[in-house]
Amino acid sequence: MKELTYHRADDAASAVALVAADPDARFLGGGTNLVDHLKLGVTSPTTLVDVSRLPLDEVSELPDGGLRIGTNVRNSDLAAHRAVRRGWPVVARALLAGASGQIRNQATTGGNLLQRTRCVYFQDVTTPCNKREPGTGCSAIGGYGRYNAVLGASEACVTTHPSDLAVALAAVDATVVVLGPDGERRVPMSDFHRLPGDRPEQDTTLAHGELVTAVELPASAAARRSTYRKARDRASYAFALVSVAAGLELDDDGRVSDVRIAWGGVAHKPWRAEVAEAELRGRFVSEEAVRAAAEAELAAAVTDEQTAYKVPMVRNLTALTLTGLAEGATR
């Protein structure tokens, strides 16, 4: 048996101090991902600092109309929250598209963003994996690839980020509030997760010991008219093959004044489709226009036999999602 010390943190600062001081310590949120990894041997911390009971479990409205979500707001509560559903439907829908009712009841906001990849080799300690054990090699290259990335992958790692919530947060330009040993800092979602490069062991830009305390959602017309669509291998309880988080604002002529497109299941991080957004701004929304815009974004895609489907799938789904938003349908 591995000895494991369990601390229940009294306040955020002492939790940060405990973890920052010990490279073998980890924060424990709802545990739905980390505890699996302890069992599989994917990670073997010597200390767990349970932050799930810290009083960071409020959703509060900000003076500028935005929303602040404490890290310990459970995924199910966040999805059901009225203000979220009204102002950021993409967030509620993304949450409900993920995992199962039981897991959502348990999972925390911060834990969701920091969940690790579902790559089958990452989870199997008998196979090499650069993310789990840097320098050992990437088994997914030349192996099972159905869920692999088509954008932004590297020779070191070709996996995707599994979180649905993160994709929605990327689309609405959320900010992650982080507490570190030197105090608080604010990280835009676009800078929170990273591409694998030559350091795939690093999923995010957080330093060891930095604690997510909250996520802030700015209000916008595009966030109010937003939605999430996910294609998957079964009707529920499956990670995305691809997903689309999108928000749209039209001007009085019906032209696009603001559009947000983020893709899940295609990259090591939620993929904000900025090329496609730029193509669409100032134009009328039509299936053709969105397809063309998505294709411009996907020009950089690198696929193989197992991932080739993702390009047409995400293109089609983006077209469907945006035309739906343009027609005023919210689903």
Partner: protein
């Protein structure tokens, strides 16, 4: 003691049979009182608590174990011992290479047991297993089933059927035929994943081995393990009062049962517990091997088949042969004067495949029933009508008359209930919002199987009660309940007056709960014993008198072709933008003889439909060519249907009595629900989209445009 053989008469009264008697073990199960294999509170003679075993498995697909270094494991607190091929007890018989574990240094597949750790807690056993250092010498291996994998013809296929059959001149007839289908259909690795993993608690007292096992057959386990362990059968006792599902994977003993038995024999007087992990189940407890069926059909313009060829190739393991009988159902389904079926197997460096619900019928009928759908299209006929036109008068395989073939009625009844007539003839004709919508049909069949050798004992108790004993098992099917009903009617008493004792190998012989043969075989034995009991002791027996009878062959298997049939109808929706498939409606109508208990029968048929749907849409084990192991080795990555995938689901049956098969008038129902279902779904997706997918599963990418 050998019991007299008695062939029963048909049951005269069916007062309890046909009623939805509540499950006898329902309350224990839902309240958590039912104790499964590793939950039995077993202690040694002096109160010794159980040790925990953990399996260490190979990480190369072929090679040898050069050395097992257990130093670090043994130094870990709580670890008691580590067994490997140099230290495990020697088996008396190693001819069954799947079960002859830890006897030699050879590694024949990735995931093979190479050591067993015994420890005081399951945590220390698991950690000990991680600390065992196995030095392996890898050799080149071939573990991927490919089109050009070398194959051979097995001597026979699973179930004892002939490898090849030939009638007439199918190749010539196919060349002449005006309407033809020539296509190849594949099914992937499918893995039985019962809720309760394979698990056992074993105790060896120096004389007697007691195994609380999660098995579909206590007697078969005893009969297989005892001689290998060099024991008399009476020295082994296997109990399986509650089993959390099997789906065939617990039908034959597998290596983990041998591992726990061997481990127990090294620590006399101390119980040993072993629960296989979900990941280990993908290598150690059987699976359905991938199949490739080349089907050729030749018909007249009116749809009548003139020739039929089904050439099935499947994967087997170098360790032990298993030949999935995928072309066997083609022998009985349709009339055609010219016909051939063949089986070939590719022997690879992979784990041993085994039974998974409806071996043979499931993949074979998938291939054939999609091919028949294609033929209907080419002939311009409705798929129901095409099947009706090809109804054989007698069993095409044996020439015997049918016992009770009511396929046409199943098709007609199902078509009416489903609203089949409203269906557009053309494919890709219906759009509903984002979805293409289509419907499909497929036939199903499963043979009536009866196992010889079953013995039942009836004893009268006080107060008009009866004790009925047979070493049958209830793996969640409801066997305990339906056997109670059968015994009650056979004795002419209410079911409440029956004390049924089962699931213990010390009881009179019961065959495996497999091949949909359980109720048929055990029930026939119980009826035989009950009728003999009445003959011996009359209607008012003294308490304590008993009769034991062995079941004679009641089923008229030699004179008649005895099979169940069914028809499955499906509505499928395929997403126009993503290709995702959803199944809003699935209906199966079956002819299965008399239904002993509508509640448990419906649940078997619905379960079969769900499993068929799951195979159609999701299930696929992905074997890595480099390492030879299935990397989708948990239920988050090996998808089975979730609740949201299963929408409107309906199973019905014809009012039926089959007096040729059993004295109860019943046939087996455990497997037929899965047969044909995947084909119905595939045919519906074709009708929705005009895209013919011949390789399971029907994932979204196949329909993407």
């Amino acid at each position: 003691m050998t019991a007299n053989e008695v062939t029963p008469d048909p049951l005269r009264s069916t007062a309890s049979i046909g009623t939805s008697l509540l499950r006898r073990d329902g309350v224990e199960k839902v309240t958590g009182d039912a104790t499964y294999a590793v939950e039995h509170p077993v202690t040694g003679p002096a109160g010794e608590p159980p040790l925990h075993a953990w399996l260490v498995t190979s990480t190369v697909a072929r090679g040898r174990v050069a050395a097992v270094d257990a130093t670090a494991a043994l130094a870990h607190p709580g670890v008691v011992s580590v067994l490997d091929h140099t230290s495990a007890p020697r088996l008396a018989d190693t001819s069954d290479a799947e079960l002859a574990i830890l006897q030699a240094d050879a590694i024949a597949f990735r995931g093979q047991i190479v050591a067993v750790v015994l420890a005081e807690t399951s945590e220390s056993a698991r950690e000990g297993a991680a600390l065992v250092h196995v030095e392996q010498e890898a050799e080149p291996h071939a573990s991927i089933f490919e089109e050009d994998s070398p194959t051979y013809a097995p001597e026979q296929v699973n179930g004892g059927s002939e490898t090849d059959t030939l009638d007439g001149e199918p190749d010539e007839a196919l060349a002449r035929a005006l309407v033809t289908v020539d296509a190849t259909y594949t099914t992937p690795h499918e893995h039985n994943n019962p809720m309760e993993p394979h698990a056992a608690t074993a105790l060896w007292d120096g004389e007697q081995l007691t195994l609380h096992d999660s098995t579909q057959g206590p007697r078969p386990v005893r009969g297989t393990l005892a001689p290998m362990l060099g024991l008399e059968e009476e020295q082994v006792r296997v109990l399986a009062p509650y089993v959390g599902g099997g789906f065939g994977s617990k039908g034959l003993p597998h290596a983990p049962e041998m591992a726990v038995a061997l481990a127990a024999m090294t620590v006399p007087g101390q119980p040993v517990r072993l629960a296989v992990t979900r990941q280990q189940m993908f290598a150690l407890t059987g699976y359905r091997p991938p199949t490739r069926s080349h089907v050729r059909l030749g018909a007249h313009p009116d749809g009548r088949l003139e020739a039929l060829r089904d050439d099935a190739v499947t994967q087997s393991s170098r360790v032990k042969e298993f030949a999935e009988q995928a072309a066997v159902p083609a022998r009985v389904m349709y009339a055609a004067p010219h016909r051939a079926t063949t089986h070939r197997v590719a022997e690879l460096d992979v784990p041993v495949p085994s039974w998974m619900r409806a071996p043979g019928e499931m993949p074979g009928m998938y291939a054939q029933e999609v091919a028949v759908d294609e033929l209907a299209l080419h002939a311009g006929l409705d798929p129901v009508e095409l099947r009706v036109r090809n109804e054989p008068d007698v069993d095409p395989d044996t020439g015997n008359p049918w016992g009770n073939r009511r396929l046409v009625e199943c098709l007609r009844r199902g078509a009416e209930r489903f609203g089949w007539a409203d269906r557009p003839t053309e494919a890709r004709a219906t759009v509903d919002g984002e979805w293409w919508v289509g419907t499909g049909v497929a036939a199903s069949t499963y043979p009536m199987l009866w196992m010889p050798g079953n013995v039942a004992r009836i004893r009268s108790l006080d107060g008009g009660r009866y004790a009925v004993a047979i070493a049958a098992t209830d793996i969640g099917t409801g066997a305990r309940t339906v056997l109670t009903q059968i015994a009650a009617d056979a004795l002419g008493c209410p079911p409440e007056a029956i004390d049924l004792d089962m699931a213990d190998s010390d009881l009179p012989f019961g065959s495996v709960a497999g091949g949909s043969s359980g109720t048929t075989s055990w029930g026939t034995a119980i009826v035989a014993a009950a009728q003999q009991f009445r003959a011996d002791h009359g209607e008012h027996p003294d308490p304590g008198v008993e009769t034991t009878a062995a079941s004679g062959q009641y089923a008229d298997m030699d004179g008649h072709a005895l099979h169940s049939f069914g028809a499955v109808f499906c509505e499928a929706r395929v997403h126009r933008y993503t290709g995702e498939v959803r199944v809003p409606r699935l209906l199966g109508v079956y002819s299965v003889g008399r239904v002993v208990n509508p509640r448990t029968a419906r649940s078997q048929l619905l379960g079969g439909l769900v499993m068929g749907l799951s195979a159609a849409l999701h299930e696929e084990g992905w074997r890595d060519p480099r390492t030879g192991h299935v990397v989708t080795q948990d239920l988050a990555t090996y998808h089975v249907a979730a609740h949201a995938d299963v929408q409107q689901l309906e199973a019905g049956w014809l009012d039926d009595v089959d007096e040729l098969s059993t004295p109860m008038g019943s046939r087996g129902i455990g497997e037929i629900g899965i047969v044909g279902t995947a084909a119905a779904v595939a045919n519906a997706t074709y009708h929705a989209t005009g895209v013919r997918v011949r390789d399971l599963p029907l994932t979204a990418d196949r329909f993407l445009e």
